[in-house]
Structure formats: C-alpha cells, structure tokens
Amino acid sequence: MKRWLLGLALAGMLGVLAGALAQTEITFWHAMSGSRQEVVNNLVEAFNTEFPEYEVNAEFTGSYAETLTKAIAAYRAGSPPTIVQVYEVGTQTMLDSDAIVPVYTLNQGEVDFGSFVQPILKYYSYQGELYSMPFNSSTAMLYYNKDVFREAGLDPNRPPRTFDELYEMGLRIVESGAAKGGVSFGWPAWIFEQMFAYHNQFYANNDNGRSGLATEAFINSDFGVQVLGEWQKWTQDGVLVYGGREYSANDPFLAGDFAMLVQSTSSLGGILRKADFEVGTTFLPRLPGYPSGNSVIGGGSLWVMKGASDEQLEAAWAFLQYLGRIDNTIAWHKGTGYFPATNEAVLTLLNEGWFAGEPNALTAFMQILTGVDTPAARGVLLGNFVQIRDIVGAAIEEAVTQNRDPQEALDKAAQEVNRVLSEYSELFGQ
C-alpha cells in the first residue's frame, strides 16, 4: 500500500518535472519604466506562477520608439519578441509590416471582444477586426488646481467647459495673481488630435486612414486653424503657458505655476501622489458650434509577432487573455491609472465603490463613455505617424512660442505631412 502511494507520488513528481521541461518560453518587450514597470513585473510573475507551463520573460527596452526599433531589428534578424508593446502612433506601421499575427486570429472564442470598452476596442480594430490587444489605454482630460481656483475667487467645483470659459477663468487667475499662468498642455500635438476627434472632425482623409491609407491631412482646416488660433491668443494674454512636449508640463503644474493642465489620464496617479493641493479633473473643453465626437485613446497596445512557434502563440494568447481578465485589468488600472480594458472590469470597480474614493479616475471614463462614436472619433491611422506628430508639434510650437500665424504654420505643416504620407503610400500603395 505504502509503496503504491510512493509510486503515485513519484509519478506525480515526474509529471510535474515533465511539465517543467515542456515549459514554453515567450518574450515580452515593453516601454513601461519606473513604477509602471513594477506593475508589469508583478502581473508577469503572477502569470508565470499561475501557469507553470508558460514562462513569460518581460523586458523593458527603452522608450516606445526605442522598443519599436529594437523589435523591428530583432524581427529582421529572425528572433523577434513574441509580444511587443507599441505606441498608438506605431499602429499603421505594425498593420503594414506583415510581421504580426493579428490578435483576432488567435481568438478561438475564448474572449468576447465585444466586452471591451468600445472606444478602446475601436481604436485598435482595423476594418472590424481586432489586431492588437489593448493594454495601456489612456485619453486626455483637464486637471485643475482647486486651491488656485479658490484663491482667484472661482468656484472650485465649476471648472471650465468651453474654450471661452477656460480663457476667461485663466485670465482671472493670472490677473488675481493666484498663479503665474492659466493652463498648460502635455503632448500638444496629441491634444490637437484630440480636439479634432472631440469635435467630430476628420484629421485625415479616407476616414482618418481607416478605410484606406490616408493621403491628405486636414490639420489646416478652418477648425484646426481656429483651435490653434485660440491657443495662440491664450498665450499672448498669458493664459496658456507652453510647457513642452510629453510630460514636462506636469512639474510646473505641481509647483502651482499654472492652474490647469490638459494631460494624459495616465498622469493621474503621479499627479495625485505628488500634489500638495486639491486636484480636480474634468472633461476636455469644447469649442461651441461643432458637433460632438469623442476623445481619442492613446497609449499603447500589445502586438504578437510572427516567428513564434505554435506553442509560443498559445502561450502569448494565454498571457494576453490573462491581462484582460477582470482582476488583472483592475490591478493594472489601480497601479498605473490606465483604463481597465473591459466593461465588466468597469462594473466591478463601480460596484466596489472604487470611483467614489477616486472620483478623478472616473472623469476620463465618463468622458469616453458619454462621447459619440463616429468615424472621426475613432482615432487616426497614419503611416509615418511618429514623424507627422513631430511636424504638427513643431507647428504648434511655432504658433504658440514664436507667434507665427496659425494658418501659415499649419499650411506649412500640412504640406510636409502630405509629403510624408505620399512617401508612405508610394511604399505601401496598391
């Protein structure tokens, strides 16, 4: 009897060993540094423990641009990462690369993509199919310093809703001396894109590049010129303080240099942690007279690359499903401030009262869920988008910091953008 038990135990152990030997390893390259990297590592470790048959090796490979460059190099050398995180501006590049395994082809019915938060799902879908797994999704919203609002005699619970209100409140703040400036932006070119989608305006032709390669940008449309003109006026009157690209405006906002900040929702955690004033958040300001659209998803998604074995694809799909699971997407949201990806996760968060304690985390949700789903609001797909965002960013800077005429700056930028687009379609046309 005892021997029989022993035999069984041994057999069991061998089974475990065999399992360990047959473990499938996959690599996952990402651009999440600092505290976000920790959250990624925790998720990966938990996955590896829960699924001993798989082993995910996560590696931080520098900025988004650096990560993409490396993934391409690795693909060309024949050893691509199984999963790579790519920023939203790299989406068209990945779609055209012929180097990816679309996520929808991996799904054998395990996941109902319909359960994803719609704006997120739509951003990473192309012609109705999901190509990459939403991971770190964010959008832009308006942060404001309630203490400064009070000091300026403004109602701290009545933030601006329109461009005009923002301008007037900004003026009031500057004139009262409550802060040196009124408002600043993170990622100005992205905020500019947001404005188009938010007011249901196309940024480029062919339905923002979603029904075919975009060949013409509409950045110098009347709408674009009006938005940039407003921004320029704000700057001239000391309301808008240009704060640089990406996240560099966060510091002076935290230091109280200006009262409002239009920034990615992914900064929420950092801002709440470091602010020594009461932080309020609200929807992006609107320009009256234009229809409603929606704010656009930014951030990054996870792509599965060709070159993986069937077992590795299976492991990759298991990992992607794991990340989309309610508990994990909630952990991801709480740890980083990025959106939880599925509707169930949002419901769970609502039921556990998370948003009651974190009302600012709800703002962006309400914004994207109350927005209108239109073709113009689903986000732009452009070839060479990195470069295009760069061109637009420079045009904004010229108008705002060097006082160049907005029409002129945007005309010049549009010309450059169109040239870049035509270069891209020459390569990928037909």
């Binding site: 590049t93 704060g243 240099d257 910091t401 390569l427 990928f428």
Partner: protein, 291 residues
C-alpha cells in the same frame, strides 16, 4: 634595420584591418548605397529614388534649421570654451608656489560624459529647483523655463557642452604654454614689453598650432559627441531649438525609421568630416587625436 618575414606583418595587421573593413569601410560604402533608397520601417520594401533624399534634405526646413543650430552651437563651444580655457590656462601657468595643485584639478572634467554634463546643467537650469532660474527670479522676478524657452534651452546645452570640454582644453593649453621657452619671454620683458604685449606677440603665435588643434577637436566634439547630452535634456526641443544634426539623424533614422533619409544625412556629415580633415592636413602637422 627591418625584420625579414614574409607573412608576419600581415598577420600582425590583420586583426585591425579586418575590423576596419567589416565595421567601418563596408558600412560607410553601404551608407552611400542606402541613401539612394526609400526604405519601409521594417526594411522589407525599398524603392530606388536616386538623389531624392539629398534634394529633400536641402529643402527640408528642419534640416536647414539643424545646420544653423549646429553651427551656432559649435561656435559657442569653440569660442566661449577656448577663450575661457586659455584665460584659465594662462593664469594657471604662472610659476607661483602652490599653483601645481590647481593644475591637477583642471583635468577632472575630462572624466565627465556628455550625458552627465547635460544632467548637471539641466538641474542648474531647472525651472522649479534650479539655482539659476531661482536666482534670476529673486533678483528680477522673471520666470525661466527651458522646456518652453528656445533661447534658454540653447544656452543650457551650449553651457553644458562647453563646461564638459573645459578640462580637456585647459590641459592642452597648459601643455602648450609650458613648452614656450622662458628665455623668449624674459628677453621680451627686458625690451620693455608688458604682459599684454608679450601675450599678443609671443605667446599667442606660439600656441596657435595648439589652438588650431583644439578648434578641430572641439568642433568634432560639438558635431558628433553631443547626442547623449541632448537625449537626457532637451531632446531637440522646445520646437527644434536644440535639434543638432546628430539628433535629427537619430530621430529620422531610429525613431521615424527612415533609413534612406538618415543615410543621406550621414553622407552630409561625412562631407563635413572630410572637409575638416583636409583643412587639418593643409594647415597643421599631423597629430594624434585624443577623442
């Protein structure tokens, strides 16, 4: 007297030559070839486009801007840097008791990397805690933010680069000053020439080969070794106010993934190096470069 051996010299040279051929000569030639193509990000599609990349380059306002910024930056590093270093070197060259100690300190900044120099000066210019903006804010009530202010950002990178080179320049100037024969200066002093005259008539001409050498090395530094400095500070911004040629090359080649366009920029840089080299062979005796 030479050793006689048919194969040994080739064997001795082969490691160096093989590496030079594979990693220097071949990629350089390949750069010329690649500059004739438009290449897709993944490298799997390419179109031959002749000289279009070059033509585009010369019409690209951002590239012309990068040229202007690079020249201004280099001029700052060379003129301010060399003037300051020469002044310090002349001062340190006095034969006074206790001066040897100072000389040993001046070499320290040679150990600095461009990235570290950038970080240190980014702190000095930091809008919130940096001593320089705060001092100015205290005195004049101005508020300075290099992330938004193009001029300030330029001064930030130029100051950092100049400072990083100070140690190197001082050491070389000192070596040159110390090789000036004492008798010459003494004779001039007896003839009644004061220190300024002696400096202009004797010292300056005698150290001019060294000055020329330092102009060259500092120019090469400003064009080729400043990437790290930019990457940790301004990243070329705000706008394109600090986008030096090397940064533009990185952006186009490794962020926008336009290999052909970036290669054309490499060729332009090569022409620059070739010009500098010719200048050097024309006007100076051959010297070992200390990178």
């Amino acid at each position: 007297m030479q050793f006689k051996n048919k194969w040994l010299p080739y064997i001795l040279l082969s490691p160096s030559l093989i590496i030079i051929l594979i990693f220097l000569i071949y990629p350089s030639i390949d750069t010329f070839r690649l500059a004739f193509y438009r290449v897709a990000p993944f490298g799997d599609r390419r179109i031959f486009i002749g000289f279009q990349n070059y033509l585009r380059l010369l019409q690209d306002p951002d590239y012309l801007n990068a040229i202007v910024i690079s020249i201004a930056f280099t001029a700052f590093v060379v003129i301010v840097g060399l003037t300051l270093s020469l002044a310090i070197a002349v001062l340190a060259n006095q034969r006074l008791p206790g001066f040897a100690i100072y000389r040993t300190f001046f070499i320290w900044p040679y150990a600095l990397s461009p990235a570290i120099a950038g970080i240190v000066w980014a702190f000095f210019f930091d809008p919130n805690v940096g001593p320089i903006p705060r001092l100015l804010a205290n005195q004049f009530g101005t508020s300075l933010n290099w992330r938004a202010d193009a001029t300030l950002a330029f001064f930030l990178i130029a100051t950092a680069a100049t400072w990083k080179q100070l140690g190197y320049n001082i050491v070389f100037f000192l070596a040159s000053l110390q090789s000036i024969p004492k008798e010459l200066l003494e004779a001039a002093a007896i003839d009644g020439a004061g220190p300024p005259v002696r400096f202009r008539r004797i010292v300056f001409p005698l150290i001019s080969p060294m000055t020329f050498f330092l102009v060259i090395t500092n120019t090469l530094f400003a064009f080729f070794e400043t990437f790290g400095l930019l990457h940790v500070t301004t990243q070329g911004g705000p706008g394109r106010a600090t986008e030096l040629l090397i940064y533009k090359l990185y952006r186009d080649g490794f962020e926008s993934l336009r290999s052909g366009y970036a290669s054309a920029q490499s060729i332009m840089l090569f022409i620059l190096v070739a010009l500098i080299t010719i200048l050097q062979f024309r006007y100076a005796q051959r010297r070992v470069f200390y990178q």
